[in-house]
């Protein structure tokens, strides 16, 4: 794990501030995610973690500061262009296309890199057919990869909760991201499910995709991440390897809240 921590920066937040009316959700935040690592973002509720995701994916434009991905500034870009650049995400509350099949959900992700316009599609031109074939192949492969290859034709909303989380991940992966953002993927899962999710994240990372993870489950975070940053009131209060962060008194005070057992 330690071998990647010196990798080059894939995502860099530079003095990012985000205000909503009077609320300062993110306050002068610097953050760097390096190529190939699993980076965890933790912190109390309302600390601004999801807001970071929203800033990175272009849902919000920062009040101040700069977001760079792969060396290029991406704030100000349209959300779908950010996706094309190579950032994909899942949502804190699952947001699948419920009344579409699992396969179609993933296909929507795969379409991000497809080119056929309405003319090609409407006339059924050859390159459109080829793209369509390739997209389906990729989608099947990804559904297998996340472990729901046997449920391609089922509708998203009819999948069990855990499989829905997996489907969200497959859909995100279909956009061929360099960086995958996972927002509390283990929320509402039981321990067995968490364990298998953990392995999936590991495999994604091993396959070459950098992962930025928000999670409240300390067991999972501590075990899987290479580095951890802790947010509180929109500011970074600690950063480092899991073990370091876990014993940081400020983190215990603000987030973990069990000083007696920490040492």
């Amino acid at each position: 794990m330690s071998d990647v921590t010196g990798g080059r920066a894939l995502l860099a937040l530079d003095q990012i501030t985000m205000r909503f009316g009077g609320v300062v959700a993110i306050d002068g935040l610097d953050l760097e995610v390096r190529q190939g690592e699993i980076f965890a973002l933790i912190g109390p509720n309302g600390a601004g973690k999801t807001t970071v995701f929203n800033l990175v994916t272009g849902v919000y434009q920062p009040t101040a500061g700069r977001v760079a991905f792969d060396g290029r500034k991406i704030n100000g870009m349209k959300r779908f262009s950010v996706t094309k650049r190579g950032i994909a995400r899942t949502f804190q509350n699952i947001r699948l296309f419920h009344n579409m099949s699992a396969l179609e959900n993933v296909l929507v992700g795969a379409d991000a890199h497809h080119r056929t316009g309405f003319i090609g599609a409407g006339l059924g031109l050859p390159w459109h057919r080829r793209e369509e074939r390739e997209g389906r192949a990729l989608a099947r492969e990804l559904l297998d990869f996340v472990g729901i290859g046997h449920r391609t034709e089922e509708w998203a909303k009819n999948l069990p909760y855990g499989d829905q989380r997996r489907l969200e991940i497959a859909r995100a992966l279909a956009t061929k991201p360099k960086l995958l953002l996972l927002d509390e993927p283990a929320a509402g899962m039981n321990p067995a499910e968490k364990r298998s999710l953990q392995q999936l994240i590991r495999r994604i990372c091993d396959a070459g995709t950098t992962v930025l993870l928000i999670e409240h489950d300390m067991g999972l975070v501590m075990e899987i991440s290479d580095r951890v940053a802790v947010l509180d009131f929109g500011q970074k209060i600690a950063e480092g390897r899991p073990a370091e962060v876990q014993n940081n008194p400020a983190v215990i005070e603000a987030y973990l809240g069990a000083p007696a057992d920490a040492s």
């Binding site: 999801t50 994916t57 849902v59 349209k78 959300r79 779908f80 996706t83 094309k84 994909a88 995400r89 949502f91 804190q92 509350n93 947001r95 699948l96 296309f97 419920h98 009344n99 579409m100 179609e104 296909l107 929507v108 992700g109 379409d111 991000a112 890199h113 497809h114 056929t116 316009g117 309405f118 599609a121 409407g122 006339l123 059924g124 459109h128 793209e131 369509e132 997209g135 509708w155 909303k157 859909r171 995100a172 956009t175």
Partner: protein, 386 residues
């Protein structure tokens, strides 16, 4: 007591409706499983039926009181084509358009103005009309498609009225008097298929050539729309309908696709308007009232928004029934209104809903949680937008 209410009150109506509609559902499921050759045979039969439709023996039953072939052209054929166009916007992309008649009007006026002023022929004009109406779709969509869905409703309604009123107040295009003496399409051939039927000779009295023109347009548009539906474009529309924000983040340029839906819908509306104007000889702004937009929308929803066979059925019924029941005279609109309410109450998903739509209903969550006691969490939608 929420659970018992559902079955009381209009119970008998419901039971009767179920008898009528269950076969529809079964048919859809059968269709979903049917092998290719069956489908092609059915397509073939449908087209043949459409070609044979304007015969007097059919007409004697279908519209005893006016000319059946003319009725097949307008309202039926025109409604069907308009409904297919509106379905792209409403059914596929999920955008509420209450002013669809605007594009129909624009197509009609392009035909009328260019046809009478510049003397171009129909085939040249229809291309221009399609371009202009889709352009107007884009002009309307560009500032408004970023708005929330319900705001779009009033803005499109306004647009429909604006187009009509501008036509009415602009003397250069006839003002309230409209435009007369619109040229017919040039004859393509004067072959006579059966005695007394020259399907490619466009005159004043015989509406059948125009009807066949509409049928041809319908077939083309349906093929095009079906292909789109099953492609990347259709998936993008479905995704936008389901969750626009999530779609955008998954790489769908939502705005562009919504605009595309608007433009395609507008193009179809415009093409319909062109044929309409060429057949009618004379058009006036009052040919394009708001109620026509509402009627086409009703046709789409009544048939089953998002499902082409349903939409076509809906448009057919909405065009045909008032004609069939001419006997009721003044009461036709009254009945139409009542039937709309009744239909929505007993079968809100429409007569022939798509598989997807029926599912949305089975689950009972379309109204974002206003199912009274049996509400589903709106909280989800609210919180997730943070």
């Amino acid at each position: 007591m929420s659970h018992s209410k559902n079955t009381t009150g209009i119970g008998p109506v419901r039971a009767a409706m179920r008898k009528i509609t269950t076969p529809f559902d079964e048919m859809r499921d059968w269709w979903g499983r049917a092998p290719g050759w069956v489908r092609w045979t059915v397509y073939g039969l449908v087209i043949v039926a459409a070609l044979l439709a304007p015969s007097d023996s059919v007409g004697a039953f279908m519209s005893p009181e006016s000319d059946w072939a003319t009725i097949l052209f307008y309202p039926i054929g025109v409604f069907v084509l308009l409904a297919i166009g509106l379905n792209v916007v409403v059914g596929q992309a999920g955008l509420l358009d209450l002013g669809f008649v605007a594009f129909f009007a624009i197509g009609g006026y392009v035909m009328a103005v260019i046809g009478t002023e510049l003397g171009w022929n129909f085939w040249e004009i229809i291309v221009v009309a399609v371009l202009i109406s889709s352009l107007s779709g884009i002009i309307l969509g560009a500032p408004t498609l970023r708005l929330r869905g319900d705001y779009l409703a009033i803005v499109t309604l306004g647009f429909g009225e604006i187009v009509r009123l501008v036509a009415q107040n602009t003397d250069a295009i006839g003002g309230p008097r409209g435009i007369n003496s619109i040229p017919h399409p040039p004859d393509m051939s004067d072959i006579e298929i059966i005695p007394d039927l020259q399907p490619f000779t466009y005159g004043v009295i015989d509406p059948r050539p125009y009807y066949y023109l509409l049928v041809a347009l319908c077939v083309l548009v349906i093929i095009f729309a079906r292909r789109l539906e099953k492609s990347r474009v259709g998936r993008a529309w479905a995704a936008i309908r389901e969750d626009e924000d999530a779609a955008e983040i998954m790489g769908v340029p939502t705005f562009r696709f919504k605009l595309l839906a608007f433009a395609i819908g507008a193009a179809i509306g415009g093409a319909t308007g062109t044929v309409f104007a060429a057949k009618m000889i004379s058009i006036v702004p009052n040919n394009f009232p708001f109620i026509l937009s509402a009627t086409i929308l009703a046709a789409v929803v009544l048939g089953g928004s998002g499902n082409l066979p349903g939409v076509i059925l809906g448009a057919f019924l909405v065009g045909w029934l008032p004609e069939r029941f001419r006997g009721f005279e003044d009461y036709r609109v009254l009945l139409f209104g009542g039937v709309l309410v009744l239909m929505m109450i007993v079968r809100p998903q429409g007569l022939l809903p798509s598989r997807q739509r029926s599912a949305e209903f089975a689950e009972g969550s379309g109204m974002g949680g206003m199912g009274a006691e049996v509400a589903t969490p709106t909280a989800k939608a609210e919180v997730s937008s943070r």
